[in-house]
């Protein structure tokens, strides 16, 4: 997939984040901006959905604050931050300046993955065109799954490996915000909270970028309103190209949902919560009928084990043990492992991986039985779930 996929969708009338901006960023007082963001109900778009105004207010109480625009997107099944940065870098820079104004920062750091040169060049060009009086830096980060986790990113920016630490950066004045969150700040500063809330649901307002891969005619990235029925979301990607066996919602920290159930769901955390699922960074993979969900999940489980930073014992040993157990169809062992692994690391990596594996065991229970009998549903030649390849931490 290339970042060009977004271009053809820009004409879409509902586009905000991917629409060209044609008005200058207004100069507004810090308190007004913060009040506007609080009223908007914007939550972090990097996956954790934490209220943005709370994080901004905490960083605003510290001295020497720094803003970090997080465009690392180490999740292999997500492309939305890369598309946003390539297509609309100025809106992200606007948002970073709004955040800097609120927290009193003079320095802006932009962090992107090392491998995608297009993203880096477009952002670099946009930054060079600005003359807003902010000091900015552009850093590239290894394309590892956990490298974009706040503390891991800050550790890397400080010269260390891109591995998580026990620090909470925002309590120390380092405000790390996902680039899509920042783009929303750039819009809210222009058009206000009421405008922002015209889209989405009352509880989950706004539009979001989604990455859809797998059994759709035109995989890629699009902008949709929160609350849009999944069926309509998939229409934005040309509709289904095969019968959906299951849908992975929320990427590799996410949850498998059975195909038919998934199509009826609205794209909102409120609807996903009863299924134990969450939108995360809104990566959605539609598994076609001729793919083996078990083999796909086992590949990802092994990948997630290899993406452990190796710092916390339960994650280092536990995720490898889970990948082994999934490959050997040892469901009892997986059940025993889950509580020994989830919640026992410095970051959420073991929790997310455990959730992913547990949902695979649940949704692909029939496939596990088939494999035990020496059979497999999979006849597809290509693999559906993409994996990352970087082996670097620095």
């Amino acid at each position: 997939m290339s970042v060009a996929v977004a271009a053809e969708r820009r004409a879409d009338a509902s586009a905000r984040l991917l629409a060209p901006i044609d008005t200058p960023l207004p100069r507004r007082r810090r308190a007004d901006l913060l009040a506007e963001i609080e009223a908007s109900g914007l939550t972090g778009r990097g996956g954790a959905a934490f209220p943005t105004s709370v994080k901004l207010a905490a960083a605003a109480r510290t001295r020497n604050a720094v803003v970090v625009a997080n465009g690392t997107e180490g999740e292999p099944a997500s492309w939305k931050d890369k598309v946003l940065l390539a297509e609309n870098p100025h809106l992200v820079v606007d948002g970073a300046m709004v955040a800097a104004r609120i927290v009193g920062a003079r320095r802006l750091l932009f962090a992107v993955g090392r491998e995608n040169r297009t993203v880096r060049k477009r952002l670099e060009r946009a930054l060079a065109q600005r003359s807003d009086g902010f000091e900015w830096f552009l850093e590239t980060v290894p394309d590892r799954f956990v490298a974009g986790e706040e503390s891991a990113l800050v550790n890397h920016l400080n010269g260390g490996p891109a591995k998580p630490t026990m620090q909470k950066p925002y309590q120390r004045g380092v405000l790390v915000q996902n680039v899509e969150t920042l783009a929303n700040l750039g819009l809210i500063a222009r058009y206000g909270a009421d405008w922002f809330r015209e889209r989405g649901t009352a509880d989950e307002p706004g539009t979001v970028l989604v990455t859809v891969l797998g059994a759709v005619r035109s995989p890629g990235v699009a902008e949709v309103e929160l609350g849009t029925p999944m069926r309509d979301v998939l229409q934005r990607f040309g509709g289904l190209s095969a019968l959906p066996q299951a849908v992975l919602v929320g990427g590799y920290f996410g949850t498998w949902v059975r195909g038919h159930d998934a199509l009826e769901l609205p794209l909102a955390d409120a609807a996903l919560k009863p299924l134990g699922a969450a939108l995360g960074a809104r990566s959605i993979v539609v598994l076609p009928q001729d793919a083996c969900g078990l083999a796909e999940s086992a590949r990802v489980a092994r990948y997630l084990a290899e993406e452990s930073a190796g710092q916390c014992g339960p994650c280092l040993f536990g995720l490898a043990a889970m990948a082994d157990a999934l490959e050997t169809l040892d469901v009892d062992r997986l059940r025993r492992l889950a509580p020994q692994v989830s919640g026992r690391g410095a970051c959420a990596h073991p929790n997310g991986a455990t959730r992913f594996v547990a949902s695979a065991v649940d949704v692909f229970a029939d496939e596990i039985a088939r494999h035990r009998a020496g059979r497999c549903t999979g006849s597809a030649r290509s693999q559906v779930l993409p994996l990352g390849a970087s082996r670097e931490w620095r």
Partner: protein
């Protein structure tokens, strides 16, 4: 109200020496790789001295007692 303390481990520092489970078998269990599983409940008053001792004896300084939210 009485101050309640919870036992916590810094999982990055912890190397699974297992001293805490030796010293505090009432509270700390080891997982199958030898890393300690922390109790969910705050430390009972009768075990507080033993817990403080275990914190001091951790060779990685990974164990701590922190004020409980509850």
């Amino acid at each position: 109200m009485e101050m309640r303390m919870k036992l916590r481990v810094n999982p990055i520092l912890c190397d699974g020496y297992g001293h805490c489970a030796e010293l505090l078998p009432e509270l700390v269990e080891l997982d199958e790789w030898g890393y300690p599983i922390m109790p969910r409940e705050p430390v009972r008053r009768s075990l507080a001295p033993a817990a403080r001792h275990a914190v001091k004896m951790c060779p990685r300084l990974a164990l701590s007692l922190e004020k409980s939210e509850r």
